[in-house]
Subunit: 353 residues, 5 copies
């Protein structure tokens, strides 16, 4: 429930709920360096980020991945070495940026959100990933590593020529592609959740179903808010001539753009489906109340008149001739049976039975 | 119900439900070749796709149709011979592409979805059709043949001059036209289904009606998602000067565009109609509950006071003078009849009867 | 109810319901020729369309009106004589075109729908009118004559100079204007129907009101679908330099455009009003059920406790001292009257009375 | 309720309801002339409009205001003298034009609607005002004078330099400004009406509240329809170089444009508020019915079982040992009190009390 | 509730409700002057605004902040000294302007709204802030000081080089940035309020919850209306070459623009969430009524038939053989227990228990 009250950009740290048992404020961030060219690969875990600068300066294509945003020293050191703009560094640290691509001085800055569906809480969690292109070096900042880049790492290690020789712009594309591919996993999980709600809805809707529908609505609003700006971002990468992606990666970015549009359209479809669910829920509840009411009405309509009749002959008037008739009692039973049959017929005609 | 959880692009294989009795994973795909010019026609079923390459290389207009996407060898062989871009081949195999037209290197790639309404499950099924233009050759890839292209085949066989002499761009148009024409059949079937729901809605709405309305909603969301991108696609074919359709086929594509707009508008009309149905359903249920309530209220309001009255004279007080009056019992009946008449008048005035 | 299931373009023949007693499939279409210049007028009914070609070839401004689309010979003969494009002829015959203006070769083709409100079935019927401009000749095709062009005919006969000397483009404008003017009649009729529903809604909503609201919704969806493309069409006539209307008729077309926008806006207003009606209906039903429930509750709450009390003194215990008190019976009446008064006060306070 | 059925442009005369006691079809229209330059002012009521033509021809800036549109002679005479286009004169007379600005020959024609909120009928009434710019002369046509221009008249009389020397384009601006300023008065009145409905909604919603909400909805639809085109109109005045307003009055028209946008946005806000009202109404009714139901249920659930119990001991079986127990009667009372207490606890736990 | 009825631009003074105990119509406004260059700072409270003109004329960058809009003399004096356009001064005084940036003569005028969430009344209050750029001088007008600019003041005092040397355009940016930053505080507060409503909604929805939802809806409509124009405003500052912000402040304004978009998107998300709340409320009420109805029905269905049965044996017929059976009474009890068990089973099967 905390999602929206923390929307203010200096406050939101949604990733904190991702991995509650890990202590976040570690002494130093985990730093990983990949420095490679066509033939060589230098992969290292760095204790201090400065250890990697020498590799960077040798002219290799370098990828520095920083896990954790609390190690201010590392971030400042990177800022100094690559002369990153102060507004850029501020955006990296504030973990509630809108997805975007921007040129700060000579560096390109991309923000994207990693999204995950938590099956237990039925909520979508998100982590912000910042990608900075500074010449031959690409720097990624994440709260903590979500393994989503492992595929890219494998391809670097495997020495795929395109990966090894296409520089940081292609590497940035590969990372974005990995994130967007992961969105499809999320969408499938959400889709399964939608189906399970629909099943419950038509089999046995209860209060929990209602809570699920509402939570889903909130999560889809959040998903939409996270995914929409991505289209615009990738479009800028395609069109903006100031950015280093134009032309060179055109065919790849167009593919990425198509995938993003597909993600957005599926999200919108989910929202449409969700909108129908609450209406259906209300209809099901109405239906059931109707059924309950009919049962009550049948019972009451049948027995209330009969109870009146037997009440009549329970009266203590001195002069009630029927009471003294020999066949009074069985005759009354006969009358009551006839009334009941007539009632049944009436209910049948009204289709209440 | 599986439709949306399989939306992820590497997962969805919606066509599997189209033809359950056919075994899909055949050893090899069914391959059909049409190679023709103004005067000659060479129509053949190929065991291996390579058998057709000689005809292609003779400079005839060729159409290779591949049924089934599991025969990787055939696809790779085509990719090699026509130097198709790897991303293009990937799109062919992943059966959940968004409808689009794109230029990959010198080849044009079109994706379109064939849609069918399954009257039993009341769901819309879809198959992806890929069309590749590579010089004089047009290649189509489908999961398995849906007969929708038979009309085009007939026109080639019949030797219609426009068909025979206008090359692959016109052939691509003819295939798209066949698919869009088939959409109108789908729309008519869905329209009949809508009418049958509306009939049920106003005659005797029940739980099944509700399920139908909901299913229809989901299917219309899916239909819309499939059909919308088509407009954009055909518009690109009309406007984009890099594609081979510009100018030459202008009047035909404009016609196709008009039809697509008509399909989209009808889809939107259906969605509007569907949106009203659930409201109507709720109103009908409300109406009926109102009627039930009124019956209950009339019975209860009539008999509960009378039951009280007869209860009074069933009491065993020693001193109840009314009980000993000669006309007490008939007088009470008179009183109760009067009360009933008054009640009836009241109900009439309230328009409950 | 057939409206939407017949939306497919090869199927829909909505005009069949317009005039059920007229046999449609007449042997030949009714053909009317007006050929005129500033000073002369030649008005004739033609048995065969070829009889009119000589007048056309003399260079007069000619208007050939063809009623009925089943006389294929006439249509083909016109197609031959004026070399009309095959796609154009196909559009003329398929009576479910979207409203549009298009240039086919040297000829201009306009499709527009005539709309009529059927007060009995409360449905909107439509007929397609095709207008073809071929040099000095204007050809109109209709299912059968709806009299809407009589005003234009009168103005030709009356020899109005503008009518007589402005050629076929102005004649086309005059015909479109006549159709759009007729839309206002339709809108007024629909508006009156809306008012009558609103009256029923606030006076005495019943099941028929609900059916009316739903039918109105469907008809407004259909009206909107018919009218929206008209704006675009007239806009093309204003802007497209390839069409023969540009410049010459600017001030008239702008006027027509204004009227079309007014038609569209009124349609949208009607849709807004209609959307509110169902909500109001539900509110009225809720209101009434509330009222019914309150009556039931008042009666039950008043008498059920009293019935319990009299039940108590109807028990047959040997030792019930109250029964033997001299004032027991009147005291109980007093008690029950007091309870009733207290109940009434409570209901008053709760504002149920 | 007549508003929408009279929407057809030749029919609607909404102003007739504004001032029912004034006879509309006067013999001649009231005509007022202001002819002025920097130093002189000639203000006159004219019996016949021709009396003013001499002043106009002297080259003064002239404003002729015509009240009432039924005096065809006056309108024709003005049409002749200023050579106004026939379509323009037609638009003046047909009192249901959409707000617009148009150039007819050398003259500029502006239509705008004066709106007033009638507190009694809770409806918005409207009068059409036509403004014609013909060289040095500005002519206004109204159904009858609504005093809204009195402020402008005062400023002319007071001899304000800007007013006196800026010609008819500025005068036209001043008149439009007066009308738009009057919209804010209308909006405030409608806003107060909305508040009074909201108050009723949360205090004591009844059937009248529902009618008010529905009427408000209809009036807001009408308001929106009247106000939206104004933005477009003023935008044309700002941008269209053919109109005499461009450049000269830029800063003033921009100001007017801002006000118009503010009017539109407030109207949209009102519509949003109104949309929520009906939902709230339904919720309030549901709430109340819930409360009623709970009362009924508590009473019934409490007394129905007890009534059963006392019924048991009212039976006349020969062998009912309890009846003969010494403490049977008080013991039964004790039992019934215990049951009641248990019931109360249950209701408390369910939070029904 | 007064918010919307006061929307008319000459009437609304929303800030009056912000600080009710402060008397607004003070004799003179509070005026604060900052005049600075890179090395010097002259900060003063002015009794009369004219005291500051000398500093302004010395060529320092000056910021004059005027609190309170009722001191007409001060405003006129500023108007004279900086030759501000009369329309600009009018806009400053009328406290219900739409957010905008405009060029009046050589001066730039910005209007923006400060927004605050009042936790008690759960309403959003707003104050209009006017910013005028006149050469080296920037003038701000506020109803009364809301402390939001204190951060900017601190940075001037601290002698930050960018602040001190970048002139009034940068100062204007800094002030806007302070206001937009404050929006995030507002959004967080509103977000917390939304969560508290959601909590109440799922735990224990009552009438107050409903009022809260409705109030929130109104406030979000108001928030949206206040925030939307800001995007357009900042976009103008970025794009319009006539304004003094273009180019120089590009990177900063883009950052501000991003924040504004984020504010708007969060507002829209809140509106979506709010829209779902009322539906959820209705569902919860329906749910509960369903539960109440079921309890009533179970009790009534169980006891009404039994009450009928005991009524039968309370009748006083002379000949009722059952009454005289030895085991009649216990047998009846047995029968009634069996009926009850059967009923329970039925309820279980229907899942009402």
């Amino acid at each position: 429930m905390r999602k929206f009250s923390r929307a203010a950009h200096t406050v939101r740290r949604p990733s904190e709920s991702l991995d509650p048992e890990t202590p976040h404020r570690r002494e130093s961030a985990g730093i990983k360096l990949f420095a490679y060219d066509e033939s060589s690969l230098d992969e290292r875990d760095l204790a201090r980020v400065e250890e990697g600068f020498e590799a960077v300066d040798r002219g290799l294509t370098s990828w520095i991945n920083v896990d954790g945003l609390h190690d201010r020293a590392t971030i400042d050191s990177l800022g100094d070495h690559f002369s990153l703009h102060p507004l850029l560094l501020e955006d990296v640290v504030h973990a509630a940026q809108r997805c975007k691509v921007e040129q700060y001085g000579g560096n390109t800055y991309i923000v994207i959100r990693m999204l995950e569906f938590d099956r237990l809480s039925k909520e979508i969690n998100s982590v912000q990933i910042s990608i900075v292109l500074a010449g031959n070096t690409l720097i990624t900042f994440q709260e903590h590593d979500r393994d989503v880049f492992d595929g890219v790492r494998e391809r670097i290690r495997a020495g795929r020529p395109r990966m090894r020789t296409s520089g940081t712009a292609y590497l940035a594309y590969a990372l974005l592609d990995a994130v967007v591919d992961h969105y499809f996993v999320l969408l499938e999980e959400v889709g399964e959740h939608i189906e399970s709600i629909e099943d419950a809805l038509f089999r046995r809707p209860d209060r929990e179903t209602l809570t699920d529908i509402h939570t889903l609505k909130r999560e889809l609003i959040y998903l939409r808010k996270s995914v929409w700006p991505l289209r615009e971002t990738i479009n800028s990468m395609l069109r903006d001539e100031d950015l280093p992606f134009h032309d060179k990666l055109h065919v790849y970015l167009r593919d990425l753009y198509d995938h993003t549009v597909q993600v957005i359209e599926t999200t919108e479809s989910y929202r449409d489906l969700n909108a129908g669910m609450l209406e259906t829920y209300l209809s099901m509840v109405s239906n059931r109340m109707n059924e309950v009411m009919k049962t009550l009405t049948i019972i009451a309509t049948l027995f209330i008149p009969l109870t009146f009749v037997v009440g009549v002959y329970g009266m203590n008037f001195d002069h009630m001739p029927e009471l003294h008739l020999r066949w009074g009692y069985p005759a009354l039973w006969g009358f009551m049976v006839l009334v009941s049959i007539a009632m049944f017929r009436y209910f049948k005609r009204k289709r209440w039975l």
